[in-house]
Every structure is written in structure tokens, then in C-alpha cells.
């Protein structure tokens, strides 16, 4: 794994999100109420809604287009809806956000 520093924790608002552009496409980085950071694909499997624009609650996000709710930990749609988003490893150290560069580059090779 190679950890890449992509910014400060405080660059993401509490219970908010920012987008990270990668060669795999856009990832959504979420910061929860408890200051955990999660990275998932920024595309809702329903109709492509930008999840980074959704409302964050607990460790979940609600898609802004039609309110599907996804677990940020597992990427699985909650409740009656069925769908899955990819999740990526993120670490927070000294209030800096690190993502795993290997994974993102590997995806590129596919």
C-alpha cells in the first residue's frame, strides 16, 4: 500500500463530503459526526446520483436524487433498496486524510 496525503480532515465539513478525482473516476470522501472518513464511488447505482451531495447521517449517506441510503462502511444500500457501491480504504492521521494510492492505480490497470 502507498498512502497518499490528499488534504486535511477539516477540509471536509463535519457531516459533509468532498470529491476526490482519481483515474478510476470521482470518489466521494465523507466525514461523519464522529470524525471518521470514508471513501466510496461518487455514483449512485440507481441512476448515477452524486452521493457526495447527499446528507450524511451516522455512517450512512442519503442519495440526493431519490433518497436511497447507503452504508459508508460496507457500501450496501439499506432498507428495501438493492445496490452496492465500491468502498476504498482511507486513514486519518494527525487530522490529515490518506488514501491508498496502490488501489487507485491498480484499478487503472484493469
Amino acid at each position: 500500500m502507498s498512502w497518499i496525503d490528499i488534504g486535511a480532515l477539516d477540509d471536509i465539513p463535519l457531516r459533509g463530503a468532498r470529491v476526490l478525482k482519481t483515474q478510476l473516476g470521482c470518489l466521494a470522501l465523507f466525514r461523519t459526526h464522529g470524525d471518521k472518513v470514508f471513501a466510496v464511488d461518487d455514483r449512485c447505482p440507481h441512476k448515477g446520483g452524486p452521493l457526495s451531495e447527499g446528507i450524511v447521517h451516522g455512517a450512512s449517506v442519503t442519495c440526493p436524487l431519490h433518497n436511497w441510503v447507503f452504508s459508508l462502511e460496507t457500501g450496501t444500500a439499506q432498507g428495501a433498496d438493492e445496490g452496492q457501491i465500491d468502498t476504498y480504504e482511507v486513514r486519518v492521521e494527525n487530522r490529515r486524510i490518506l488514501v491508498d494510492g496502490t488501489r487507485l492505480a491498480l484499478g487503472m490497470a484493469v
Partner: protein, 813 residues
């Protein structure tokens, strides 16, 4: 002859280690104890009661001169070790060299002094030892002395409470958004803040210190936002760092702390280390419980016996008299985790358990911590709690018993149990009233006054009704806001006003929210209620807004946005049109459309272009049209007396005036208006939330229309002879709607609920009330009537429209 053991640091860890050592084998070592402080060991954690005056220093001494003498310890207090010479096996102090066979490093931690200008001024101090306490007490004896505590963690708050108890004026400046963020979740942090503020301590969260001001002595603390807080002393309580300097210089393995193995040995076999200065399994500790474990192990290691330290799970309590707070473990949320939350608004209790795989992994408690240690025990043991899950949160008194159904719990309450705290009504009185014929909530309220004030006991009263009447009572099914609470929108709004709840955590506590931070349904509603009721005290939370309002643009099906500038009353100019056309060209806008609201929509703008296109439109004098907002949308007008042969009044001019007065205001749902110049009604005023029809004698104002999912004709509110009178009526109506309606009820739905007659009473008949409504609206506008586009194109918030980082350009090897 006994071996020589030299100990550096006469603190809590080494004190305990020596006790174990002497108990097991008093003659094993000849001990020399060095300490920087000019005194022996005392119970450092009791410094706070000494500061507050609840204890004296003498009462917290743990090892006195007699103890050291009895155990043959050579005390070298007031002497700091400056170097360890491992090759020659000796330590060096100012007084000279002292040889050792075994060395114990127990140097504790050093306070972290944040590197701001002015940190070296006289009056800036840490909170670590008795000298610090004495220095604080010296200043606190001056009348009107002021203290600023930097850091709202455990130490900072104990210092603040102690100084406040000594009569000082205390302000706590905390960088994070809630107090003790490492030990508490925001809900408990809020309760703690409320308690401290209630005692007169000022608490400023999200506050970053820029500098400490003064020439020789401190005068004040300057924050990043330029706030200046006067101070005679500044307590730095921004964290601690393991005191490792000696070990580093001696070439021992040091990471964040001095690295030790399970036997507390450093990488030099003759040197052991314990206490806050060590790092074990990548963990450093800042509490005494782990140090006591380490002390046991190190004594055995020094005696050549087998023992292993396995790391500790810690829990926190705050030692401020009257504050009950407990936290332990990991209480971040997570999808593989479940939480059980219990809030009791009446008694200010908050308890939260975080479970994973049927085990407790974290707990936060506030207000009632009696069960804290029991939960902590379950946590440390990793006990499977699935059997007692349903009653777990009620603690050991219930746990293990048969799952408790809330009805049974109410049925089991004794007659003297208080149900309604506000009016002091106990269960027996309610049962008596029910047996006397009060068979529904309203009747119980009327006869006993129970649930008649704050209403938080309504659920309990209903349960008493159900328990007493059995099947004859049907529990009402008022729709709660969402799954996070049992309270209805109306209840929540009422409590926000009556109990002056001014923040989300305040509402969560008072309305017994069952989740830690709400959900996408309740948060936007609460955000609206709070900002509309407390425009000054509450700060709008963008993260609790639906994307359109957070981004000030309507999101489209493909994730792009639409941009609609305001076109006051539907009037535009060639210059504005040119600017719109230029913007459309510059940002490749695929669709330009005339909307149903008399203005122009630029559809398909990319998210990251928003601040730029807004800046361009701003430059041409245009502001956001709020086409995305639960707020004022458009005021549609017709051409009126300016051009039309039938026009009776200046409908265009009046429409523009209304739009200029109302724009920027947030409302429960969107608000649309129209002004038609005569009863022919070309502006379609009779299907708007508020419509004005101009007639020769003045203005007919009507309300509660719509033409969306339901088509509704407006109903007459009143008639005004002057524009000013009509305007007041309109503004007062909007404010009444803002203050009372349920979030996402359009005006017509709300009017249907409260009745048009009531609305007329408030606005048309009671002119004094009308004036107050207008004043409250205007006051709110002083805060909220700002162009969000202008705000978002500058400063920090502008950045949130751009990606956090772009890794797509990095070479992919």
C-alpha cells in the same frame, strides 16, 4: 550487597512501582529517586480539588518523608536529570553523577504549549503540577481576575471549573466543535457545555487561538476570528506529550513514547520505563489506571519474576463537582455497529451504548453515571449482551431480567412516581383522574395538568392511560418527525420555542432522539425550525440541508445544476440579458429556458463552474433567484398601470417591492407570490401562496393558493387601502407561516390546519401582533437576506465546490 536502582521522576507511576517493589522484597534494591519537583509523590489527579478549594495539598500527598525513610529511599527532590550515560551506567544531574545497576525512567508527560506568538509572556501557564496550581491561586485571589483556558479537554475543564469556583471570570477556548471531543460525542459535549455555561463559565468552541497579547504580562487572547478576550492568566491545556527527551538523547528506541516491551523494558536491558512517557504496542496513555498496571509488572521484572503488561482499556470521568460524566471505549458510529440511546429530557440524562457483534465496545453517559462502571466491566470482559439487549441501557438493575416492555414498566411504577415534572403530577393522581372519567389525553390534561407544560411526558401519560384502561384506550398515532424520535413536528416546534432550544443537540436531548445525529429527514426540518426561531443564536448548518439549498442550485438528473438569477418582478434589462447570454456561452450552458416564474433558467451547469458563473452574474448586478429554496421564490407581476389600459395600481412596482423585502428568507416550504393589476388577474395571483389583486380602492390580499400537485384557489385575508398596509399584511403572514408551520407544509396546508380565522385574528384583527410579526421578520432578514452566490464565490466555502484533490493527473505506474 543490594543492587542500585535509580529512578528518574517522582510521580504517580514510579510511586506505585516502588510500593510493589518494597512489598515483594524490601531489600532487593538500594533506591535513589530523582524528581524535578521539590517534593515527593502526591496524587496528581487530585490537583483539581486543590485548585477548587475542596482539598488541601497535605490531603493528597501519597508518600511522605517517613515513608521514604522507612524504605531507605535516597530522595533527590528538586534535582533534574539532564543526561543518561548508558556506557558508564550513570545518570547526570547538576549535582553530579550517580551510578546505577538498573534504571527506571518515569518522567511522565510535558504539557503541550501551542506555538503562538506571546506564549512566553508572564501569566501563561500549564496545568501539570502543584507549582502551576499555586501560581493560578495567586492570581485568582485578585478581585475581578480573568482567566482564559485554552483547551476544552479534561484538564482544561477541570482548571476552568476550579478557577471559577475560586471566583474568577473564566473563558474556555476550544478548537473543536464540542468539548472533550476525544471522550464525548457531540450530544454529551452539548450537555456538558450547558452545565458549565450555567455556572457562568464562557465556552467558545470552534475557536482557534491566533496569539496571546501583552507586553510582559498577558493582557488578552486573540482568536483567528479577531475576537479579543481579556485575561490575567492563560492556562494552556491543549494536550500533553510524553517526556522522552532524556531517552532520545541516550539513543533508546523512542517513537511517540519510549518504546517498551510487555515487561516494561526498553531496548536497553538495564533500563525499564513506565508511566505516561512510554509507548506500549503503539499506544500511549494519559490516565492512571494503565500506569498502575505497568507499575505491578515493572516491580516483577525488576525482581526477575515473570509478568506481562497487556495494554489497558481506559475510561474517563471528569472531576468537576456536580458534573456526572463517563465515557469509555470506541463510540464512533459504524454500519456494523448498533447503538442504544436513552435520553431523559426532564432529568438531563443521556446514555449511549455502542454495540458490535452483541458486545459493548463503547459508552458515553451524562447526568447519571451510576451504571458506568458496570457497562465498562461488560466492555472490558467482552461479554455477550444479546440476552439482555432490550433492557441493557437501564443497567444492571434490569439487565438479565425478562425483556421489559415499556407498558409493564409503567404499570409497575408506584402511585407516587412522578410523571409530569413540570406540574408535579404523580401516577396516582393520573390514575385517579382516569378512574374519575378522564379517558383521553385532553381530559387528563384538563383535570390534572399533567403533560400540559413542556409536553415531554405525553408518551408516559398515554402509557398510564393505556395501562389503566386496557383495551378501551387506543394509543393515538400522531406521526413522529421520523424514526429518530417519537415527537411530532408540532411538538418539536413547540419545545424549541418554550424551552428555548437553540442547537440541534439541545433539541435531540429535549425530544429524546434515538440516533446520535439524526437523519436526512429530521435534520433539514430541525435546521429550519432553529434558524427561523433563533436567527441570532443559531448558526445555519449547511450539512443539514438538502443538496439544492446547500449548493444554491437545483441538482439535475445528470448531476449538473441549474442557475436562475433573480429578475425582480419579472422585469429585466438589455444589460442583464447580455450578461446572461455571455454566461451561457462562457460556461457551455446546454439549455436556456424561460421559467414559469417569469425569469431565465440556465440548465446543465457543472458543479465546479457554479462559483464562477455566479461571480459573473453578480458582476452584472444579479443575485440568486433561490429557485432551489424552501424560501421566497418569485413575485410574478403583470404590467399594471405602467402600460395596461385596465391597470388600477402599479402592480409591477409593488411586486418588485415585495420581492425585495422578502427575498432571502427561509420558509417551511417554498413561497410564491403574484400581483395582478386588476381582477382580470394576468399574473395568476389567485393560485399563489399569497396573491394580490389591485382594485381602484386598494389591494385585495388573499392566501393559501397553489397550482402544483394540488390546485387551490386563494382565500381572502384582508383588504388594504395603501401599499404599506398591504405589505405589512403580507410580511406578517409570511412570518406567521415561518413560525408555526410544519416543515414541508405549503402555506395552504398549514392554513387548512390552523384555520383561516385564526390567521386573520393574528394579522388582520390584532394590529399590535401584526407589527411584532413584521418586526421579527425584518430582524431575521438582517441576518438572512444575503446573496448566497456572493458568499460562496469568496473565501473558504468557495473551495468546497472544487474537488478536494485531483489524483487523476498523477502518473499511474
Amino acid at each position: 550487597m543490594a543492587e542500585r536502582l535509580v529512578v528518574i521522576g517522582a510521580g504517580m507511576a514510579s510511586g506505585r512501582a516502588l510500593e510493589h517493589l518494597f512489598e515483594a522484597d524490601p531489600g532487593a534494591y538500594d533506591v535513589t529517586l530523582f524528581g524535578t519537583e521539590p517534593r515527593g509523590n502526591y496524587n496528581r489527579i487530585m490537583l483539581s480539588p486543590v485548585l477548587s478549594g475542596e482539598k488541601t495539598y497535605e490531603e493528597i500527598v501519597t508518600h511522605d518523608a517517613d515513608w521514604y525513610a522507612e524504605n531507605g529511599v535516597t530522595c533527590r527532590f528538586g534535582e533534574t536529570i539532564t543526561e543518561i550515560d548508558r556506557a558508564r551506567k550513570l545518570v547526570i544531574s547538576e549535582a553530579g553523577e550517580t551510578p546505577y545497576d538498573k534504571l527506571m525512567i518515569a518522567t511522565g508527560s510535558a504539557p503541550f504549549i501551542i506555538p503562538v506568538p506571546g506564549k512566553e509572556l508572564r501569566g501563561v501557564m500549564a496545568y501539570r503540577d502543584l507549582d502551576d496550581v499555586n501560581a493560578m491561586l495567586l492570581v485568582s485571589s485578585n478581585p475581578n481576575a480573568k482567566a482564559v483556558v485554552i483547551g476544552g479537554g479534561l484538564l482544561g475543564l477541570e482548571a476552568a471549573a476550579g478557577l471559577q469556583a475560586r471566583g474568577m471570570d473564566v473563558t474556555v477556548v476550544h478548537l473543536m466543535s464540542h468539548l472533550m471531543e476525544r471522550q464525548l460525542d457531540p450530544a454529551a459535549g452539548y450537555l456538558l457545555q450547558r452545565e458549565l455555561e450555567g455556572r457562568g463559565i464562557k465556552v467558545m468552541c470552534n475557536a482557534s487561538t491566533k496569539a496571546i497579547l501583552g507586553t510582559e504580562n498577558v493582557d488578552a487572547v486573540l482568536l483567528e476570528d479577531e475576537t479579543v478576550i481579556e485575561a490575567d492568566i492563560v492556562i494552556m491545556a491543549a494536550g500533553i506529550r510524553p517526556e522522552t527527551r532524556l531517552a532520545v538523547d541516550a539513543g533508546l528506541h523512542v517513537e511517540r513514547g519510549i518504546v517498551v516491551d510487555d515487561q516494561m523494558r526498553t531496548d536497553d536491558p538495564d533500563i525499564v520505563s513506565i508511566g505516561e512517557c512510554v509507548e506500549h504496542n503503539s499506544v500511549i496513555y494519559g490516565l492512571v489506571a494503565p500506569l498502575y498496571e505497568m507499575a505491578k509488572v515493572v516491580a516483577k521484572t525488576l525482581l526477575g519474576e515473570a509478568a506481562a503488561y497487556q495494554g489497558s482499556t481506559t475510561s474517563t470521568k471528569l472531576k468537576v463537582t456536580g458534573v456526572d460524566l463517563f465515557s469509555a471505549g470506541d463510540f464512533a458510529e459504524g454500519e456494523d455497529r448498533e447503538e442504544i440511546v436513552l435520553r431523559d429530557a426532564a432529568s438531563g440524562v443521556y446514555k449511549r451504548l455502542v454495540l458490535q457483534d452483541n458486545r459493548i465496545i463503547g459508552t458515553v453517559m451524562y447526568g447519571d453515571t451510576a451504571d458506568g462502571n458496570w457497562f465498562f466491566g461488560q466492555l472490558k470482559d467482552g461479554s455477550d449482551i444479546s440476552e439482555m439487549r432490550d433492557t441493557l441501557i437501564f443497567g444492571p438493575a434490569f439487565a438479565g431480567g425478562s425483556p421489559l416492555d415499556p407498558m409493564a414498566a409503567v404499570a409497575a411504577l408506584p402511585d407516587e412516581a412522578e410523571i409530569c415534572g413540570c406540574n408535579g403530577v404523580c401516577k396516582g393522581q393520573i390514575v385517579g383522574a382516569i378512574q374519575g372519567g378522564a379517558t383521553d389525553l385532553a381530559a387528563v390534561r384538563a383535570t390534572t395538568k399533567a403533560s400540559n407544560s413542556c409536553g415531554t411526558c405525553t408518551g408516559l401519560v398515554e402509557q398510564v392511560l393505556a395501562a389503566t384502561l386496557g383495551d378501551d384506550f387506543v394509543m393515538p398515532t400522531a406521526q413522529p418527525v421520523c424514526g429518530c424520535t417519537d415527537f411530532t413536528h408540532e411538538d418539536v416546534r413547540r419545545l424549541i420555542k418554550s424551552q428555548e432550544l437553540k442547537s440541534m443537540p439541545a433539541v435531540w436531548q429535549a425530544c429524546e432522539w434515538k440516533t446520535s445525529c439524526g437523519c436526512h429527514i429530521c435534520r433539514p426540518a430541525l435546521n429550519y425550525y432553529l434558524l427561523s426561531d433563533w436567527p441570532d443564536a443559531y448558526k445555519d448548518d449547511p450539512q443539514s440541508r438538502f443538496v439544492n439549498e446547500r449548493k444554491h442550485a437545483n441538482i439535475q438528473k445528470d448531476g449538473t445544476f441549474s442557475v436562475v438569477p433573480r429578475m425582480w418582478g419579472g422585469i429585466t434589462t438589455p444589460d442583464e440579458l447580455r450578461a446572461i447570454a455571455d454566461a451561457a456561452d462562457k460556461y457551455d450552458v446546454p439549455t436556456v429556458k424561460v421559467t414559469g416564474g417569469q425569469r431565465i433558467d440556465l440548465l446543465g451547469v457543472k458543479g465546479q463552474d457554479l462559483p464562477h458563473i455566479w461571480a459573473d452574474l453578480n458582476k452584472a448586478g444579479m443575485v440568486s433567484g433561490h429557485a432551489y429554496a424552501k424560501g421566497l421564490r418569485t413575485v410574478k407581476t403583470c404590467v399594471g398601470t405602467d402600460h395596461c389600459r385596465f391597470g388600477t395600481q402599479d402592480s409591477t412596482g409593488f411586486g418588485i417591492k415585495i420581492e425585495k423585502r422578502l427575498w432571502g428568507s427561509w420558509t417551511p416550504h417554498k413561497v410564491k407570490l403574484a400581483v395582478s393589476g386588476c381582477p382580470r388577474n394576468c399574473a395568476e395571483a389567485t393560485c399563489k401562496d399569497i396573491g394580490v389583486i389591485c382594485v381602484d380602492s386598494g389591494f385585495e390580499v388573499s392566501v393559501g393558493g397553489a397550482a402544483g400537485m394540488d390546485v387551490k384557489e386563494t382565500e381572502a385575508l384582508g383588504k388594504a387601502t395603501t401599499q404599506e398596509d398591504a405589505m405589512d399584511m403580507i410580511v406578517a403572514f409570511v412570518q406567521l407561516y415561518r413560525e408555526h408551520a410544519k416543515y414541508l407544509d405549503r402555506a395552504y396546508k398549514w392554513v387548512a390546519k390552523v384555520g383561516l380565522d385564526w390567521v386573520k385574528e393574528q394579522i388582520v384583527e390584532d394590529l399590535e401582533n401584526r407589527a411584532l410579526l413584521v418586526a421579527r421578520f425584518d430582524h431575521s432578514q438582517t441576518i438572512y437576506q444575503t446573496d448566497p452566490w456572493e458568499e460562496r464565490t469568496h473565501g473558504r466555502t468557495a473551495r468546497s465546490f472544487a474537488p478536494l484533490a485531483d489524483l487523476s493527473l498523477e502518473a499511474a505506474e
